[in-house]
């Protein structure tokens, strides 16, 4: 019988992600920042230009977050509440932007809209509509419609009901999603560089350029500190606001809450389809480019590019991608679920906001900083991880874990504590309660997180391109390399590889969709 020993509380699981975070994040980043901290670093802080960059970074991230939220909500509604044919495809499709290498998306937006602030904001939002749709949709699907019925019978129109009842209930998920999106956008690199040129600079591009082009470590360290501080401040504010809204909800099975839209809901469905259509525009332009000169690009996938631009073939890169993403996802699920369990069992603790924020930080620090940090620290671990192939999934897991946490936590936190207590009075120990109550209720969002995490790992570029060995290059790395070489074949192959990446993404999403129905029932 699986009875928990009294001493071993689920809260202890939190030590696992914390240890991981300490070794693979805090230590490397701390070391690199400390290395660069000297008198010159203060000059950077005193420079008003730095603060303009801070303002622009936060401003564009906030704007992109807003756009992603506004565009993502109707899609979340569509995914959560609407029973129409073809939902699985939409669910998979909105994930596609997430895997696309930022270079390629940047180029596509440049082609469609040119450069400037608006394209930066739109491109950043483009990547992240899925974060909002998935995170919010995951909770929305389980909300009991009768709370809304109650509001309607008190005279609230559909819209008022949404703003007064549904939205507050969704706030934890919305806050989670917004925090993640904000972090992605605040640390957005490729897109800003491509669409902003040298005119619109963010902390992330500045840190990158100082580190890589100017070899100015002290300036980069100072900016990294500023970045961490700004990110922490925004996260803590967000966590506060979110927690005020957290309340136990009556959760229901998704099949019961999804139905054919009625009345004004069709407008929302229309808006959602419009958003999906807009998402498809850049995607379609990429696919179109891949077949621009016939299928030469696809044929080239079995080779290594024009005159051996690559060390691996396209197909080998695809295999590498699938392999590392699998490792990263498994690791991230273990870490993310452990963290979520700990955060839920510690919900009354004082330091919970700090812990919550700490677990998000890897998304808020630039990949270069982490990558360089690895170089100067990880040789102290046995086996010199710096040159090991295992470092890539570890680094990807660093990015995927916070996402898993953010997707699963809102659902876990909305489970009525008394439901767990009911299980306990029926003889279930703390771990068993987990397996019997939390896991099934959050199962759907857990699977969504697994699929989502997998896609993120597939698409991860920053850390991967820094750490991958030539023979373990993944598809995004290969694409990045191909577009930075002249030659028509390279270009065609790059776009063919992009299309391959999208196909893999959709396939993974559809498989997860299937799994979900089979494994965990239809809750």
């Amino acid at each position: 019988m699986a009875r928990g020993r009294p001493g071993l509380s689920p809260a202890l699981l939190g030590l696992l992600p914390l240890a991981f975070l300490a070794v693979f994040f805090a230590w490397p980043v701390g070391a690199i920042v400390r290395l660069g901290m000297d008198a010159a670093a203060l000059d950077v802080l005193a420079d008003p230009g730095t603060w303009r960059i801070v303002a622009f970074t936060l401003g564009q991230a906030a704007a992109a977050t807003l756009v992603a939220v506004v565009a993502g909500l109707p899609v979340a509604f569509l995914l959560a509440r609407v029973a129409l044919p073809g939902m699985a495809v939409v669910r998979a499709l909105v994930l596609v932007p997430f895997v696309l290498p930022t270079v390629v998306v940047g180029l596509a937006f440049r082609g469609l809209l040119g450069g400037g602030v608006l394209p930066i904001v739109l491109a950043n939002a483009f990547f992240n509509v899925a974060v909002v749709a998935r995170t919010v949709g995951g909770l929305w699907a389980h909300l009991d419609r009768r709370a809304e019925d109650a509001a309607r019978s008190l005279g609230a129109s559909r819209w008022r009901t949404f703003t007064a009842v549904t939205l507050p209930a969704l706030t934890p998920a919305l806050g989670s999603a917004a925090a993640v999106v904000f972090l992605f956008c605040a640390t957005s690199f490729g897109v800003v560089l491509l669409l902003g040129g040298a005119r619109f600079r963010t902390l992330e591009t500045e840190i990158y350029l100082r580190t890589v082009e100017l070899l100015d470590l002290s300036g980069a360290s100072a900016l990294s500190l500023v970045q961490v501080t700004a990110v922490v401040a925004v996260l803590v504010l967000g966590a506060r606001a979110r927690r005020r809204r957290e309340a136990a909800l009556k959760l229901r099975a998704r099949v019961e809450s999804a139905r054919r839209p009625v009345g004004g809901e069709w407008w929302v469905v229309g808006a959602a389809y419009a958003v999906v259509a807009l998402l498809v525009v850049p995607i379609a332009s990429l696919v179109a480019r891949s077949v621009d000169g016939g299928f030469a690009g696809y044929r080239a996938l079995s080779g290594t590019g024009h005159a051996g631009s690559l060390s691996v073939t396209g197909w080998e890169a695809a295999a590498n991608s699938l392999r590392t993403a699998t490792d990263a996802t498994v690791l991230a699920l273990i870490l993310g679920v452990s963290a979520a369990v700990a955060l839920v069992s510690l919900r009354r603790a004082r330091f919970i906001d700090a812990l919550d924020t700490a677990l998000m930080l890897p998304l808020g620090v630039s990949a270069v900083t982490v990558g360089f940090g690895y170089l100067i620290t990880l040789d102290a671990l046995p086996g010199d991880l710096r040159t090991s192939a295992a470092l890539v999934p570890l680094a990807q897991a660093l990015v995927v874990t916070p996402l898993v946490i953010r997707l699963v936590l809102p659902v876990l936190r909305s489970i009525d504590e008394r439901l767990r207590q009911a299980a306990a009075t029926l003889g279930a120990g703390p771990w068993r309660v987990w397996r019997e109550v939390d896991l099934p209720l959050a199962g759907r969002s857990l699977l969504a997180a697994a699929g989502f995490g997998y896609v993120v790992a597939l698409g991860e570029f920053g850390a991967t391109s820094f750490l991958a060995r030539p023979d373990t290059a993944t598809l995004p790395v290969v694409i990045g390399r191909l577009v930075s070489r002249p030659g028509e074949l390279n270009s065609q192959m790059a776009y063919a590889a992009c299309t391959l990446l999208m196909v893999v993404t959709v396939a993974v999403a559809l498989v997860v969709e299937r799994l979900r129905a089979g494994e965990l029932g239809e809750f």
């Binding site: 450069g115 070899l215 170089l375 040159t387 002249p486």
Partner: protein, 322 residues
């Protein structure tokens, strides 16, 4: 790091653009018993920085890819150990940075203005010949360059103008600006998005790229569609050297020799679009047509670049974007 003790493996640390013919390395292994493991990451700048950061506990034994722009930095930081290859005298010596014997030139590449010949023709314009033409109102709004702050070819082009115009370079850029030069942040946008001669078929027929780029843009007729302007080139030399604190310095030196060997040097143009540093290495046929070696490329001493880079970029910003 899975090599057993006594295993003769040399780790070659290099940048993303490194490419080689495995057959050459295999033959080397067969002859010497030394296995070469390649570890690539980032561009030349990132590579140099990695080497600097890890100099106490290096990622490998030998490094390749530190270029003219970053060489002084690497040397100042003591990244490399002394190793004088016997093959250095066969040509690489021409590009020596200093006399400490720590860096050996492996290849040279030129950053040059590229033009889309057909596009210029269709506008009734002759192919420009040098820097001066680019500022000519005839060629208004036709040039796209990379930002030197964010891109290595962009920086190289800037250095080329500094080397050519010396104190007058800022004035030259002001003219370029008046002539509608477009600045983008990276090579990818400039070449694949804005330049009309690449597969992206953008609007501008003149771009800053590499001397070797035309060899990748061969048309249906077997002729290159683009041409590099050989009087607008800036030469970048790529160096190799044995890392200080290497685990296996003896064998590392042998790998530097390998990189300078005629067998390896012969593959350099095809694999990396650059010219061998060794003299007397025969070039592929297409190169004569598509990528002839510039005769008088601009150069600047590494130390001068190191000393002035940031100031020049600031001045450039003020002149071009201010």
């Amino acid at each position: 790091g899975d090599d057993k003790p006594g295993d003769r493996t040399v780790v070659l640390v290099t940048h993303d653009s490194f490419a080689h013919d495995p057959a050459v390395f295999d033959r080397f292994t067969a002859e010497t018993g030394i296995r070469v493991e390649v570890r690539k990451s980032g561009d030349a700048g990132a590579l140099t920085n990695q080497l600097v950061l890890t100099k106490a506990s290096p990622l490998g034994d030998v490094a390749f890819g530190v270029d003219t722009t970053f060489a002084s930095r690497a040397l100042d930081e003591g990244v490399f150990a002394e190793y004088r290859s016997p093959a250095a005298a066969e040509g690489p010596q021409r590009y020596v940075v200093d006399d400490s014997g720590r860096l050996t030139a492996v290849d040279v590449g030129d950053v040059c203005v590229n033009v889309d010949v057909a596009a210029l023709e269709s506008r009734g314009l002759p192919v420009p010949t040098g820097y001066a033409d680019l500022a000519d109102p005839k060629y208004k709004d036709l040039l796209v360059v990379e930002d030197p702050a964010t891109s290595s070819p962009g920086l190289a082009f800037l250095l080329g103008t500094v080397a050519s115009f010396r104190d007058g370079w800022v004035g030259y850029w002001e003219k370029l600006r008046a002539n509608g030069v477009l600045v983008v942040s990276g090579w990818e946008e400039a070449y694949t998005q804005e330049f009309s001669g690449s597969s992206g078929q953008g609007p501008r027929p003149i771009v800053v790229s590499y001397a070797s780029s035309p060899s990748a843009e061969i048309g249906e007729d077997g002729e290159p569609r683009t041409r590099a302007l050989l009087d607008t080139c800036f030469r970048q030399v790529e160096y190799a050297g044995v890392l200080a604190n290497a685990k296996n310095p003896e064998d590392a030196g042998k790998v530097v020799d390998l990189l300078l060997s005629p067998e390896f040097q012969r593959t350099v143009p095809e694999m990396m679009y650059v010219y061998p540093a060794r003299e007397g290495v025969e070039l592929p046929e297409a190169w004569a047509k598509a990528a002839p070696l510039p005769e008088n490329p601009a150069t600047l001493p590494a130390a001068e670049i190191q000393a002035n880079r940031e100031r020049w970029i600031e001045q450039w910003r003020a002149a071009v974007q201010g």
